[in-house]
Symmetry: C2
Subunit: 482 residues, 2 copies
């Protein structure tokens, strides 16, 4: 049995930090004057106390470096423990949530999924609404750092392709992981402020602009209203589309651009493939929508751009109920949710680089079939790809599809219909937010699902957020030996 204390030490620090963050909604609740301030004060006390005590108890072990197993445990542990504490305000506050709902909502926040079990959002105290935004915003910056620093080292899901890159590139510009985190945080904060300002220009009040900026940059998608983004049709949709796409791009490229490599973003083949995909999808969907609203070309283009950006980045805002757009577009939205953004961003799902790797491998296969004795190597971003990476991407893909199947089955077993089961499983694993159908579709929410389904979906969000394999590795016996 290995030493869990170094892991507990860091988890304790993270929980304490989360408790500290609860003071922000505490201050907002005081300012709003609806008498809600004890909620976040109490939550902050419980959280910082628990976190602080654990950290103190394990402080001796904190100086050791982390082994590979400990890194796995820390990564998964953070996304399990933080929702447990992050959900406390939902239990104590106006939402009066049971533990299953509080955990679901907090997990949906920290994994930046954005599926909600709460209704009547429009009337909730501002502290609660802000807290939902903060959870997503923290989850967003958290996953960028984990995806850049930890996952490539853990060699899961093909992320090892970014291994040398992250360390070579960063090694030249920035010597240490904490510096990576801090310069990415600066960019993240700056973009969030810019997004909030742009929302205000489009007519949102300061509070809505702040919360929606938090959930836009994290591609989280929690909104302050039951109608999601439906109340902000118009220019705000263009602003949202711009920042959702920006949040789904690899943040390391922004760092490089700030350091003088002005073409770093555009030279990334992931980014080019991502923009190409969005353009093609917007073109197809606009033309299809023009058949539905022939006299509103601007609306067709705007709604296509907004909803495609929302689903492909995994944000999950909805500005209309696209369940009424016909089976072609509904199926298209389902599939777009399985594409995802770029690695090293807040976006989740399969991600564009995996498709690029798979297609590179398939191109090579086709060449080999034609010329069995030729030597061909798949390439990504101009460099040859090791078989280990391809196998790892394949494993990710299989795990994703098998998890989707098993979860759909299990949800069906709890009594959900086929479309709700399948799309609920997909939206949770891909951390998108809305599913399909009347219950959990863009106009619905997850409130009425049974508790078993909510627990399963919470687990699925965790699994999806951590590139699937990182969680399942913990379930192998071999992991716990030695």
């Amino acid at each position: 049995m290995f030493d869990v204390r170094p892991v507990a030490y860091v988890l304790g620090l993270l929980v304490t930090t989360l408790g500290g963050c609860m003071l922000v909604p505490f201050l907002v609740d005081i300012a709003e004057g609806r008498g809600q301030w004890p909620v976040f004060l109490e939550s902050a006390l419980i959280t910082t106390l628990c976190g602080g005590l654990v950290s103190l108890a394990c402080a001796n072990a904190g100086r050791q470096g982390l082994t590979l197993q400990q890194t796995f445990l820390l990564t998964v542990g953070a996304w399990v423990v933080l929702p447990l504490f992050g959900g406390i305000p939902f239990m104590l506050g106006a939402t009066e949530a049971r533990i299953v709902d509080a955990f679901f909502e907090a997990m949906s926040g920290i994994t930046t999924t954005g599926s909600t079990v709460f209704t009547g959002l429009d009337g909730l105290p501002k502290g609660i609404l802000l807290w939902r935004g903060i959870l997503q915003w923290l989850g967003g910056i958290g996953i960028i750092v984990v995806a850049m620093v930890f996952l490539p080292e853990l060699r899961v899901g093909g992320m090892q392709i970014f291994r040398s890159e992250a360390f070579e590139t960063m090694g030249k510009i920035l010597p240490r992981a904490t510096e990576i985190a801090s310069s990415i945080s600066t960019i993240y904060v700056g973009m969030t402020l810019a997004c909030a300002a742009a929302y205000m220009v489009c007519g949102m009040d300061a509070f809505d602009a702040t919360v929606h900026a938090l959930t836009t940059l994290s591609t989280g998608g929690f909104a302050n209203y039951d109608s999601s983004f439906g109340g902000f049709q118009g220019p705000a949709e263009y602003v949202a589309a711009f920042f959702m796409i920006a949040a789904a791009l690899p943040f390391v490229r922004y760092v490089q651009m700030l350091n003088g490599h002005h073409t770093a973003l555009w030279r990334d083949s992931q980014v080019r493939a991502f923009f190409g995909t969005i353009l093609a999808l917007v073109a197809v969907m606009s033309v299809t929508l023009l058949a539905l609203f022939p006299h509103h070309p601007e609306q067709a283009i705007r709604e296509s751009l907004f909803n495609i950006s929302s689903i492909i980045s995994g944000t999950g805002y909805a500005s209309v109920d696209y369940m009424g757009w016909g089976s072609f577009l509904v199926t298209l939205f389902f599939l777009i949710g399985l594409i995802g953004g770029c690695a090293g961003s807040t976006a989740c799902s399969v991600k564009i680089f995996r498709y690029q790797l798979l297609f590179a491998s398939i191109r090579v296969q086709l060449k080999r079939i034609r010329a069995p004795h030729g030597v061909f190597t798949p390439r990504f971003d101009g460099r040859p790809v090791a078989d280990e990476v391809l196998n790892s991407v394949m494993a990710y893909f299989v795990f994703f599809v098998v998890s989707l199947g098993v979860l759909s089955l299990a949800l069906g077993f709890t009594g959900l219909d086929f479309v709700t089961s399948l799309s609920g499983a997909a939206t949770a694993l891909a951390n998108v937010g809305p599913g399909l159908g009347e219950i959990i579709g863009p106009a619905g929410n997850f409130a009425t699902l049974n508790d078993t389904a909510k627990w399963m979906l919470s687990f699925a969000m965790l699994v999806g957020r951590l590139e699937i394999m990182a969680v399942f590795v913990l379930f192998t016996l071999r992991f716990w030996r030695g």
Copy 2:
């Protein structure tokens, strides 16, 4: 441009043979005395004439061996040309089909899919019903031979893993490909006769027993009645389950058993995995059905065994409308259709050996994550698996999933609802037969779909039957060069 004449020569011979086979339903129609005999006489004349003329015209080229490209073209060409001629009786006969329906039905026959666009089967002339069975039966023996002799050489979809095996094993026992085909045909004929006899013992008349035996051994699933297998509930379901499973096992093992290797079947790890999967599924489904019919344990086990065997082998007979069994079992049936039988049988879909290879690869990944510097090799049937095979399986898997997505989208575009689009795409690509939902579910049929959807599904059946890659290879520019 390469020489297509050797391909045309063989295709001509195949078409002529198909025309010859039309004399069987011709004789049956004479015997039935409903005046339908001109249908198959005329069809046979057209077919043998066209086939014969092409063969004669290209006879000079027939002596050459086939190159790799020519083998691809022949394989795909056979599954395109034979349905064109095989559908002629449906246009001339009592079904009075338009070309789209005739082609769909014949493609569904030759690919052993078993989706039908005809209603009122119960009243059709016997010749037409028998012809549907014959098409499936020929398609079944055809795919076994192609899967054993051609596909491993074409290195598509991981089938190359059976390359050395087929030729080593067969090389010792049987020196040439024609002998492989003839000894497998003998077994196939013998099993079909045994199945027909068993059906008659269970109370079917000679005609129904014959046609259903033809569509059981080919895992095709065309039935003589609109209610599919619903009229034969009881002992016949056990007989069908036995022969459907037998038809989904690798036929090369039967050859080996006949040659004295009595344990050949059971020593094949595919076979063991296949039986294990069926047992587990029957156990889960029986228990679930017992909750639905608490007083009929035999019925629960029988219906589980029959319907699982039917879907996993890709036969697609239905004895009940399982759409009423609740979302868990409906989702389960959808997923079972994506498993499939063993390679080298008449079964289609992803097939059990690909899952075994994928899981072997994933096990190795998990070991590598834990011990990055260890050396681990995935194994199949005890032997190490080359990376080339794994990449090929991955490519198959990706092609399958992407084809499924694109086809669902395209079907949605023609106006089909989400469940019909998705399950229709899956059932066509996996050559199972029934989809989900009211329209194409186990109690429905494909008659009411629009023509565009029928053409797309016909193409999907072809693509699925030939392990997907074999068809797409033809679409690469590189294929047609040199």
